[in-house]
């Protein structure tokens, strides 16, 4: 499935306090990381509803990165603990859909760890590149559900 | 060659259709009874925790969910080598008995019965529950609705709801009966016994008293000679919940008797490319095609088959009626397909009597309705008698009790070949060379089909209406030349 020239689309959900700041630092201090990642800033990793992850894959992501503060450092006390409990279930669920566990990753990245962020993104992108495109709507043979034009009002 | 399509005939765990081909002289060349429906439960139950199969598999059929629920629970108990508390067994049987009363009631009064009570030649508009009401009195319509409602109440009491109850689990049942609930059940059971007696009287007064009807039941168009299968207890009496599977040959002699778990030594299912439904037959005899007789592996299940396969009924009133039926119809076994209606009423009475017995059982209010299975799960078969026939669930799991393989032989499917033959026979007798295929033929074919109560025997016909039937006749260029239709 490995395709030459394939550039994976990665969605990164980063908590604003630690990981996003870390990513920002990586950007400004020119620690290069691949441009494959599209960053979505959230208040806290605990606020990343699994629905976001499913939607990301549905919308064509090849990989999803979740990053939050190190355990103990969450600005909402235990938001990242929630993430930690949810994450393994998320992986199991995705495997049930036939989505390889290598396509999702959880990392703790502090505001000072610009370099770590850059390494993680590089490594993750390379791994996703290796397994190849997911292309959900095609692979699963499903398109998005019927739109409902003109269904504004119902009258008998 | 002309082609005739009846589409859809009625529900059979899906939709059914009959395609008939006439040769150039207008005689029936062949009839295909087609089920264009498959949902694939045997595949997608793989990977599921085995204790959930009794929740998933009833969704095969919302007409007999209780039967699937219990067959599944028994199979899962067997997977865990788990002996369930005796009160749990009784509660399951009690729920099943109440369900049987409701289901058989519906079939007789709303679906199959009208042909007899009102008459097969009555105007179509009267051949339904309203016609029955007119003939036997107004209060009976209310009685039927009430009988169903009170039996539903019993199922809901134990399973939370009537369609797709959540009552049994591996190791027993979730809920027991309080003394108050038991009393309620007993009242319902007493009423059910009276209703069972009354229903047989209706049959006696209206059907048996009329020679024309009896002649119809015993006529050749509705007779096929097959093997019969059903669950029996240790005294060879009919049992719906447990026992051994007994098969008798077309002469009524015991052909085999086996434990549920050995079913694979006895039953085989054939596949035909023109239908989604398989054709089970007796393994040791083999598949001879859609033909009857001693040399054909075709067998039948459901009320008449159960009575044929047993030596009697386990409750006194039903036993009397059992004897009367065989005396009247000339001894065992009875091969008249339409006698299923009578057999169904004998069973209704048995179910009600058994229901009553159970409500009076001192153990029935024991609150310890469940045990936790402890043995290592592996493989198990569960069999019950669903109203429409012997129902097999067979599961294999890994050591965590996660399902690896599932095999199901659903009640009506056992009758698949026989239904096909009955239809063909009725049609062949009626579609004669040169004659137009008329509306009258439709009801005759329909009756052959309906006697088996192929799964949509429920409340469905208590509105004015008929099983939809349409025959399309095509000429050899597949051009539609005629449509015969009831409306």
């Amino acid at each position: 499935m490995n395709q030459k020239g394939f550039e994976p689309k990665i969605i990164g959900f980063l908590c604003t306090w630690c990981s996003y700041t870390g990513a920002d630092m990586a950007g400004t201090s020119r620690m290069k990381y691949p441009s494959n990642i599209v960053i979505v800033r959230v208040m806290c990793s605990g606020r990343i509803d699994p629905t976001f992850v499913l939607k990301a894959f549905q919308d064509g992501a090849d990989g999803v990165l979740i990053a939050g503060c190190h355990p103990g450092d969450c600005h909402y006390i235990n938001g990242n603990m929630k993430t930690m409990r949810r994450y393994p279930l998320m992986v199991k669920l995705l495997e049930g859909f036939g989505i390889e566990k290598e396509r999702i990753r959880l990392e703790w990245v502090s505001a000072a760890e610009g370099e770590k962020f850059s390494t993680v993104v590089k490594d993750f992108t390379a791994k996703v590149k290796k397994i190849g495109p997911l292309n959900w709507s095609v692979q699963a043979g499903v398109s998005k559900e019927a739109s409902s034009p003109g269904l504004k009002e119902a009258r008998l | 060659m002309k082609k005739i399509s009846i589409d859809p005939i009625t529900r059979l765990e899906g939709h059914g259709r009959i395609d008939m081909f006439l040769d150039d002289s207008g005689k029936l060349a062949n009839a295909y009874f087609i089920v264009p429906e498959l949902r694939g439960f045997e595949k997608f139950c793989e990977g599921r925790p085995v204790e959930e199969l009794m929740i998933l598999t009833p969704r095969i059929c919302g007409v007999c969910p209780t039967s699937h629920h219990l067959a599944s629970a028994k199979a899962a108990d067997a997977v865990y080598h788990c002996e369930i508390p005796s009160v749990a067994k009784k509660l399951r049987e009690l729920m099943n008995s109440a369900y049987y009363v409701a289901d058989h009631t519906t079939h007789f009064y709303a679906l199959g019965g009208p042909d007899f009570v009102v008459g097969p030649d009555a105007p179509k508009a009267e051949r339904n529950i309203l016609g029955v009401v007119k003939k036997v009195g107004l209060e009976i319509g209310g009685r039927v609705i009430r009988q169903r409602a009170i039996c539903h109440e019993v199922v809901s009491m134990l399973g939370g709801k009537y369609v797709h109850p959540s009552a049994a689990t591996v190791g027993g049942t979730g809920k027991g009966l309080s003394e108050e609930e038991r009393k309620k059940c007993q009242e319902i059971a007493e009423e059910s016994v009276e209703f069972g007696k009354f229903s047989l009287k209706v049959f006696n007064d209206i059907v048996l008293a009329n020679k024309a009807y009896v002649d119809l039941i015993t006529s050749d168009a509705y007779t096929i000679k097959t093997y019969y299968m059903g669950l029996v207890d240790e005294k060879n009496k009919v049992n719906f919940y447990e026992g051994k599977i007994r098969v008798v040959d077309p002469e009524g002699k015991e052909f085999s008797k086996f434990e549920a778990k050995d079913y694979l030594n006895h039953i085989v299912e054939g596949v035909e490319p023109w239908t989604y439904l398989k054709f089970p037959y007796l393994k040791s005899i083999g598949w001879k095609g859609i033909v009857d007789g001693k040399d054909s592996g075709m067998y039948r299940v459901a009320p008449l088959a159960r009575l044929n396969a047993a030596d009697g009924m386990a409750t006194p009133l039903a036993q009397e009626e059992y004897q009367k039926m065989y005396e009247t119809l000339g001894g065992k076994p009875v091969h008249f397909t339409l006698a299923n209606h009578w057999a169904r009423l004998v069973e209704l009475l048995y179910a009600a009597e058994r229901f009553l017995e159970l409500t009076k059982d001192p153990e029935i209010t024991d609150p310890n309705t469940r045990v936790i299975p402890t043995a290592k799960p592996d493989e198990g078969v569960g069999v019950v008698e669903a109203p429409r026939g012997t129902l097999f669930h067979h599961y294999q799991t890994d050591e965590r009790g996660v399902t690896q393989k599932v095999n199901l032989i659903v009640a009506t499917i056992n009758n698949h070949a026989a239904i096909s033959l009955s239809i063909k026979k009725a049609a062949a007798g009626l579609i004669k060379g040169g004659k137009e295929v008329s509306d009258g033929i439709l009801n005759m074919i329909e009756m052959a089909f309906r006697a088996y109560d192929p799964c949509f025997g429920c409340a469905t016909h208590f509105l004015p209406g008929e099983m939809p039937i349409e025959i399309k006749i095509f000429d050899s260029n597949r051009k539609l030349v005629n449509i015969v239709k009831r409306d």
Partner: protein
């Protein structure tokens, strides 16, 4: 004034939804008084060809039950959409794909292989499979195409309303019909007849704090009476499931299986259920968390029991090699 026209139809369905409509008992006669029932193949003598004769939007209300599994189902869905002013998905199968939607973890080929070849009671040496077109000696016999993927009704055609449940309970059906009869139709896309909370909120069991060290499968623990099952570690779909049944299964001492579908506002029932379960885990230790999660042996079946087809990802990936 002429009576509004009502149609009922089924597709990949177990028939339980048809029974459920009749569960309203004598009120069915009210329905017959209010509506002119023009199509109901399971109960009355109407044919598909009768349906084709209707003018566009001539049917006022259509209750549609069952999922879309074959080409015939798709055809019927489109036809009824065209003929109906208001199309209602009735029951879990039509709303979310229901239990048959669990087949979306597999495809046509693996299902056929199992059902027609592997099954131990089969006798099928020549590996015969049902075919759409069959040339029999006497003529052509056709059956509809079986799709790889089960779909919910709204994935095929636009749908105005949804009535949840497997099947909808009597009170749900009746409430929904009343809403329609009284002309109190809510905004398009609404659920009718059920609640807008979760099953937990109407469950009779006592709720305290949910903190658990182990998940139990329902048959492996005797629940304490009256106490919330999830607090005892028994997996229960109540927190993710729409209210309306008043906790029917809980009253029978077994957990909610999720038949009323995603609770109000929930986009993906699995995501919601998963979050709810994760949130009761009493541990901050990765290893321990993983150990606790071993209690969930079938994530897809547990989280999407009645709604895989209607979920965001809808099915398991179909392997391209096999398809190619």
């Amino acid at each position: 004034m002429t009576k509004p026209k009502l149609a009922l139809n089924w597709t990949a369905s177990c028939g339980g939804c048809e029974i459920a409509v009749l569960e309203i008992k004598e009120k069915i006669l009210d329905v017959a008084n209010i509506f002119d029932i023009v199509f109901w193949p399971c109960v009355m003598d109407f044919k598909y060809s009768d349906l084709e004769k209707f003018k566009s939007k001539e049917i006022d209300l259509c209750l549609f039950n069952g999922a879309i599994r074959t080409s015939e189902h798709e055809h019927l869905a489109k036809l009824l959409r065209e003929k109906s002013k208001v199309l209602v998905a009735y029951g879990a199968c039509a709303c979310e794909g229901g239990i048959p939607g669990l087949a979306n973890q597999f495809d046509k080929e693996s299902i056929f292989q199992r059902v027609y070849v592997e099954i131990p009671s089969n006798q099928n040496k020549d590996k015969k499979f049902p075919q759409e077109n069959n040339d029999m000696p006497e003529g052509k016999v056709q059956i509809p195409a079986f799709y790889d993927t089960v779909k919910s009704l709204k994935q095929i055609v636009p749908v105005e309303y949804f009535i949840p449940g497997c099947p909808p309970l009597e009170k749900t059906t009746w409430k929904a019909l009343e809403t329609v009869v009284k002309g109190e139709l809510p905004p398009v896309g609404s659920y009718l007849g059920a609640g807008d909370k979760t099953v937990c909120e109407e469950c009779p069991r006592k709720k305290e704090e949910k903190k658990i060290k182990r998940f139990y499968r329902s048959h492996l623990k005797l629940p304490e009476p009256e106490k919330c099952l999830l607090e005892q570690g028994i997996i229960c779909a109540g927190p993710a499931t729409r209210s309306g049944c008043e906790g029917a299964c809980l009253k029978a001492n077994l957990p909610c299986w999720g038949c009323y579908g995603p609770a109000q506002g929930v986009v993906d029932v699995g995501a919601k259920f998963m979050s709810a379960l994760a949130s009761v885990i009493d541990s901050d230790d990765e290893k321990e968390i993983n150990k606790i999660l071993e209690g969930i042996v079938d994530p897809i079946g547990t989280f999407y029991r009645f709604g895989l087809a209607g979920s965001i990802l809808r099915r398991r990936k179909i392997s391209q090699e096999k398809k190619g």
